[in-house]
C-alpha cells in the first residue's frame, strides 16, 4: 500500500499565514495564548512585530479585532474552535458580524478529533453557532492544501469569515493546482445513485465510502462542501435532482451543521431523503483521534451504510 501523506489542516493554516505575511504587510495576526497549537506561532516567528498576543481573553480578542477592522485594517485571530466560537460567540455576533467587519477567525482544534483533551475541548457545535450569524462566511476545509488556499481567499473577502481547522493529521486530497473559491463546492466523484456531501476530515472518508459503494454496484457522487455558508445551493440541488438522495458527513453535531444546511435547502426546494453522518447530540470524551472517529461513527463504512439507507428511502 502506497504511503498516504497526512497533514493537519492547522498546518496549512500556519503555512498560509507565513506566506501571506511575506507578500503583504497590511494585516495583523492575534492569538489568545495558543500560538504554538493554532500555528499562528509560525507567523509570530517570521513577523514578530505584526503578531499580538491577547492572552487568555478570547472575548476581548474578538472585539479588539473588530476595532482594528473598523479602522480599515485587516486582522486574523486564532484560538481553539471551542473558545473562539463558543466563549466569544456574542462578541463575534455584536462586534464583528453586526457591523459586517472583515475579521478572519482561524479556529483550530475543531471537532471530536481533538482527541485526548476530551469533551471540554472537542467542539462539535462551532459550525452551527457561526452559521446562524448574518454576514458570516463559514469554511471547513478538507485538507491542508484547501486550508491554505482558503486562508488566501478569506483575506481578500470583504466580511467576517470563520475557518475551522483540525489538530489531527488527515490525508492530503488536493494538489497545488486546486482552485478554491468561497461558496463553491467541488465534485470529486460523479455518480447517479446517491450524493455524499462532506467537509473537513469527512471528505476523505466520503471518498473511501465511494469506493466501498462502488464495489457493491452503487455509484455515488462525492461533493466537497468546504464552505457551509454561503452554501453552494446549485450544487446541492443538482445533486438532489440528479441522484435523488443525499448523505451528509461532518465531524460536527448533526444539529445545525452541514447536514442541517443541506436539509434546510433540500426540503424547501427539492425534497429528497437526506441522511446525516455526524455526532448525534452528545459530548465527546478522551482518547486518540482515530479511535474516537471509529467510536462516533465518523468513518467511510458509516457513510456507506447511511448511503444505502438513504437510497432505500427514495420513492
Amino acid at each position: 500500500m502506497a504511503d498516504i501523506k497526512t497533514v493537519a489542516t492547522r498546518a496549512g493554516y500556519g503555512e498560509a499565514l507565513v506566506e501571506l505575511g511575506s507578500i503583504r504587510d497590511d494585516f495583523l495576526v492575534m492569538d489568545a495564548d495558543l500560538a504554538a497549537a493554532t500555528q499562528t506561532g509560525k507567523f509570530k516567528a517570521a513577523f514578530p512585530d505584526r503578531f499580538y498576543n491577547c492572552g487568555i481573553a478570547e472575548q476581548n480578542m474578538m472585539s479588539i479585532a473588530a476595532g482594528i477592522a473598523a479602522t480599515g485594517r485587516r486582522v486574523i485571530v486564532s484560538s481553539f474552535a471551542m473558545f473562539a466560537s463558543g466563549r466569544a460567540f456574542e462578541q463575534i455576533r455584536n462586534s464583528i458580524c453586526y457591523p459586517n467587519l472583515p475579521v478572519i477567525i482561524g479556529a483550530t482544534h475543531g471537532g471530536i478529533s481533538v482527541g485526548e483533551d476530551g469533551a471540554t475541548h472537542q467542539c462539535n457545535e462551532d459550525i452551527a453557532l457561526m452559521r446562524t450569524l448574518p454576514n458570516m462566511t463559514v469554511i471547513n476545509p478538507a485538507d491542508a492544501v484547501e486550508a491554505k488556499k482558503a486562508v488566501f481567499a478569506a483575506l481578500d473577502h470583504d466580511g467576517p469569515v470563520y475557518m475551522r481547522f483540525g489538530r489531527y493529521a488527515v490525508p492530503v486530497i488536493f494538489d497545488d493546482s486546486y482552485e478554491f473559491r468561497i461558496g463553491k463546492a467541488n465534485m470529486l466523484r460523479d455518480g447517479r445513485d446517491i450524493t455524499l456531501i462532506a467537509n473537513g476530515l469527512m471528505v476523505d472518508e466520503a471518498l473511501k465510502a465511494h469506493d466501498i459503494l462502488k464495489a457493491e454496484g452503487i455509484n455515488a457522487r462525492v461533493i466537497n462542501m468546504a464552505t457551509v455558508k454561503p452554501l453552494d445551493d446549485a450544487a446541492v440541488l443538482a445533486a438532489a435532482r440528479d441522484t435523488g438522495a443525499i448523505v451528509t458527513a461532518e465531524e460536527h453535531s448533526v444539529i445545525g451543521g452541514l447536514g442541517s444546511a443541506v436539509s434546510e435547502l433540500v426540503c424547501e426546494n427539492c425534497p429528497v431523503p437526506v441522511v446525516k453522518v455526524g455526532v448525534y447530540d452528545r459530548f465527546g470524551y478522551s482518547g486518540p483521534a482515530a479511535g474516537l472517529l471509529d467510536e462516533f461513527g465518523l468513518r467511510a463504512q458509516n457513510i456507506a451504510e447511511k448511503a444505502k439507507a438513504a437510497i432505500a428511502l427514495k420513492k
Binding site: L28, R50, Q59, I64, A66, G67, I68, E90, Q91, P99
Partner: protein, 277 residues
C-alpha cells in the same frame, strides 16, 4: 478656558440634552438618565477635542469615538446632530422602523458613529483595537471611549484594560461615567466596581478624577491624557439625569421615556437653562 468658550460649550450641551429628551420622548423608550449624564463629556469631545469633520465622517485620519455604554445612544445622536453629521430632525425618528437611528449605535448606517455598540463591555475592547491599529500602522489619530460605571461589572472591560496597558496604548482615553446608578439600583446595591480609579491604576492605567459636568476639568484632564505614556481613564463624577430636575439621581429614569407631561416639564427646564446662557 475663556468664558466665551465655556458659555458656548454649556449652551451646546444644553441643546444636546434637549435633543436627548426629544428623541427619547418620540421613541417612547430609551435611556435618558445615562444619556444626560454624559452630555457634557460628549459635547466637549465633539466640539472642542476631536479631530473630526461632519462633511467627511469616514476620514481615515479622524479621531475615533466609541460609546461603550451604547444605551446612551440618544446623547451620541443628539451630539452628532448638533455637530452637523445629520439633521436634528432625525432625532424624532429614534428607535422607529425605517429610521437610521437604531436603539443602540450602528456604525453602518449612522454618519459619525465609529463603532456599533450596545452589548456592554465590548466597546472598550473595540476602542483598544482601534488604538492598537493606529499605533501599529503609524496613524496619528486618538481614540476616545465612554464606559458606564455599571458596565465595569463586565469582565471584558478588565480584559481590555489589561491589554491596553500591556501594549502601552497611550493614544487611548476612556471616560467612566460615574453616576453611581444602574438599572437595578445604586452600584453598591448591585455589584459595585469601587474603587474605580484604584482598579484602573492597578491595571496599569493613568487615572484622573474629575467633575464630569465641568468643562474646565474635562479640558485639563484631556490635556493631561495626551501627555501620558499610558492609556488614561478619566473617572468623571456625574449626575444621572443631569439637567432635568426630576430625573436627577433617580434610578427609575435609567431606561424609561418621559410621558407627555413629563416631557413638557423637562423641555421647559432645559429651555429655561438655555435662555440663561
Amino acid at each position: 478656558m475663556d468664558n466665551q468658550t465655556k458659555l458656548c460649550l454649556q449652551k451646546t450641551a444644553c441643546k444636546v440634552r434637549i435633543g436627548i429628551i426629544e428623541g427619547v420622548h418620540a421613541a417612547k423608550s430609551g435611556h435618558p438618565g445615562g444619556s444626560l449624564s454624559v452630555a457634557d463629556i460628549l459635547t466637549y469631545l465633539y466640539f472642542k477635542e476631536m479631530n473630526i469633520d461632519p462633511e467627511n465622517p469616514k476620514d481615515p485620519a479622524r479621531d475615533r469615538f466609541v460609546l461603550s455604554k451604547g444605551h446612551a445612544a440618544p446623547a451620541l445622536y443628539a451630539t452628532l446632530a448638533q455637530r452637523g453629521f445629520f439633521s436634528p430632525d432625525e432625532l424624532l425618528g429614534l428607535r422607529h422602523i425605517g429610521s437610521i437611528l437604531q436603539g443602540h449605535p450602528d456604525m453602518k448606517h449612522i454618519p459619525g458613529v465609529d463603532m456599533s455598540t450596545g452589548s456592554l463591555g465590548q466597546g472598550i475592547s473595540a476602542a483598544v483595537g482601534m488604538a492598537l491599529s493606529a499605533k501599529h500602522f503609524g496613524d496619528n489619530f486618538r481614540v476616545y471611549a465612554v464606559l458606564g460605571d455599571g458596565e465595569l461589572e463586565e469582565g471584558q472591560v478588565w480584559e481590555a484594560a489589561m491589554f491596553a496597558a500591556n501594549k502601552k496604548l497611550s493614544n487611548l482615553t476612556a471616560f467612566v461615567d460615574f453616576n453611581g446608578l444602574q438599572i437595578d439600583g445604586t452600584i453598591e446595591e448591585v455589584n459595585s466596581a469601587r474603587p474605580i480609579d484604584k482598579k484602573f491604576e492597578a491595571f496599569g492605567w493613568e487615572t484622573i478624577v474629575i467633575d464630569g459636568h465641568d468643562f474646565e476639568q474635562i479640558e485639563s484632564a484631556l490635556e493631561k491624557a495626551k501627555k501620558s505614556d499610558k492609556p488614561v481613564a478619566i473617572i468623571a463624577n456625574t449626575v444621572k439625569g443631569k439637567g432635568v430636575s426630576f430625573m436627577e439621581n433617580a434610578v427609575g429614569w435609567h431606561g424609561k421615556a418621559p410621558g407627555d407631561e413629563q416631557y413638557e416639564q423637562a423641555m421647559a427646564e432645559l429651555n429655561a437653562q438655555l435662555a440663561r446662557f
